[in-house]
């Protein structure tokens, strides 16, 4: 790994994003629109709970999709093979995506969180900063899983299908629809194995406690560990030599 190459790769990915104005617009606006929709759907107390979870779920889903398509493009246009024939290290590329899209997610999460607190009266006992921190961690989780899953898709059609496969079960089982304590034992076990469950639990802790709790830090550590595992798996899918 080289700091210089990592920095250049991160900047290159951000430049690509900057040239795509429509994607930037969608990244900024979509979470805000969806939160507004939730605001009018639910009463205050229910909104507080759901909006808080959504602030964590949106970056995860969106960055998963964006990354898996971006990485698939690297594979199909031949730029990946070309990069791997240069001094670039695999981790330079993977971390470059993580940092670039993590930064984009930080901006996105800040906008959505600001709107939720100021205009939609979102109320949490804990601090806004922690909500953003968890949202960014979720985005990075989405990036890492996207980098890994892109290896199993040959076309964009296939890549978008991984969204329901990877993201939807995590959303269904994270405790948003049914609280995890009320799930059948085996469902709970599945939920325990899915990283998003911990991210959502961490957000719940911020919603209920004024100070960061031990559970919250433990949950964040678990999500971080899941990121590392996904990145290691993603690195294993990057082959310098192919048939």
């Amino acid at each position: 790994m080289s700091v210089r190459i990592l920095a250049a790769t991160t900047l290159r990915i951000l430049r690509q994003l900057r040239h795509d104005r429509r994607t930037i617009g969608l990244l900024a606006v979509v979470p805000i629109l969806l939160l507004t929709l939730l605001y009018y759907m639910f009463d205050n107390r229910v909104f507080d709970r759901i909006a808080l979870i959504m602030l964590g779920v949106f970056p995860f889903v969106i960055m998963f999709l964006v990354t898996s398509i971006a990485m698939l493009r690297e594979r199909t246009t031949g730029t990946l093979e070309r990069l791997l024939a240069t001094p670039l290290g695999k981790l330079d590329l993977l971390f470059g995506y993580g940092i670039a899209f993590g930064a984009a997610a930080a901006v996105q999460a800040s906008l959505a969180t600001a709107l939720a607190y100021w205009l939609l009266d979102l109320d949490t006992v804990g601090s806004t900063g922690l909500v953003i921190l968890i949202a960014v961690m979720n985005a990075v989780l989405g990036v890492a899983l996207g980098l890994f899953c892109s290896a199993f898709a040959r076309t964009e059609f296939q890549a978008v299908q991984f969204m329901p496969v990877v993201a939807v079960p995590q959303i269904l089982l994270c405790g948003l629809f049914v609280s995890r304590g009320q799930m059948a034992g085996w469902l709970q076990a599945v939920s325990d194995a899915l990283p998003l469950s911990y991210a959502v639990e961490a957000l719940g802790e911020v919603g209920a406690h004024p100070e960061p709790t031990g559970t919250m830090w433990r949950d964040l550590a678990i999500v971080a560990a899941a990121v590392v595992v996904a990145l290691v798996l993603a690195a294993a899918t990057l082959r310098r030599r192919t048939g």
């Binding site: 210089r4 190459i5 290159r12 690509q16 093979e81 070309r82 001094p87 030599r241 048939g243």
Partner: protein, 240 residues
């Protein structure tokens, strides 16, 4: 002098099909070697093996005295893939600067290689707005930018107008004169005469490894296309 590229008994399978059947050849340092043959003859596979991105079944490929694909070679070898592999959602300049940065080079070097391929006027254009020929030159700029000692160019002149093609070939020879080793593939026989040496490939086998003059003399004709045909027939008769 030690050869820049040395291939011995190279066998490559893609899927169940054998694509290269035991190729052996050498490419001298500071020369322009043409790799010619019809589409599907194994040119790209051979080039990929030299770059070190191709899984090989057996045989040896050495570049600059090291096994192809080994880490220290990655900064000494430049590779132009057949279809332009650059970022369509960046400008030409941004692409060149990114690839320059991978070799620790700055924007001056990047801008120079953009000029070298005749794209100075289009430097700030997004790659997806370029014509096919411009796009492949932008890709070429990214292969040249690292100042590699060995350049593997897969059909660099396809779709270029004759004037530009002439320019590019002059540039290739200038690079060779300064010590760079170039392996250039083409399926246009007309380009063969511009090479110092030729490798003729057909169905994954080496038909000839000679200078253009030597090949013409062996085939008894001045026309490259005809020389190629003669060599194929001679090979087939020898087999019967």
């Amino acid at each position: 002098m030690e050869a820049a590229i040395e291939v011995r008994d190279l066998v490559v399978h893609r899927g169940r099909r054998a694509v290269l059947h035991g190729i052996s050849c050498e490419v001298a340092r500071g020369s322009v070697t043409g790799l010619l043959g019809p589409s599907g003859s194994g040119k790209t596979t051979l080039m990929r093996a030299v770059v070190g991105v191709q899984i090989v079944k057996s045989g040896v490929v050495q570049v600059l005295g090291r096994p192809a694909g080994s880490a220290p070679l990655r900064r000494r070898i430049g590779y132009l893939t057949q279809s332009p592999s650059i970022y369509a959602d960046l400008t030409v300049r941004e692409n060149a600067r990114y690839f320059a940065s991978l070799y620790g080079l700055g924007s001056a070097e990047a801008d120079e290689s953009v000029r070298d391929v005749g794209l100075a006027d289009a430097a700030d254009q997004m790659v997806h707005t370029l014509s096919g020929g411009q796009r492949s030159r932008a890709s070429l700029a990214c292969a040249l930018v690292g100042r590699p000692e060995v350049l593997i160019l897969d059909e660099p002149t396809v779709g270029q107008d004759p004037v530009l093609r002439e320019d590019l070939w002059q540039r290739f020879h200038a690079l060779a004169a300064s010590g760079t080793t170039l392996l250039v593939s083409s399926h246009v026989m007309d380009e063969a005469r511009r090479c110092d040496r030729l490798l003729l490939l057909r169905d994954g086998q080496l038909l000839a490894d000679d200078t253009p003059d030597g090949i013409r003399r062996a085939a008894g004709t001045d026309d490259m296309d005809e020389a190629f045909l003669t060599l194929i027939r001679a090979r087939e008769e020898a087999r019967v």
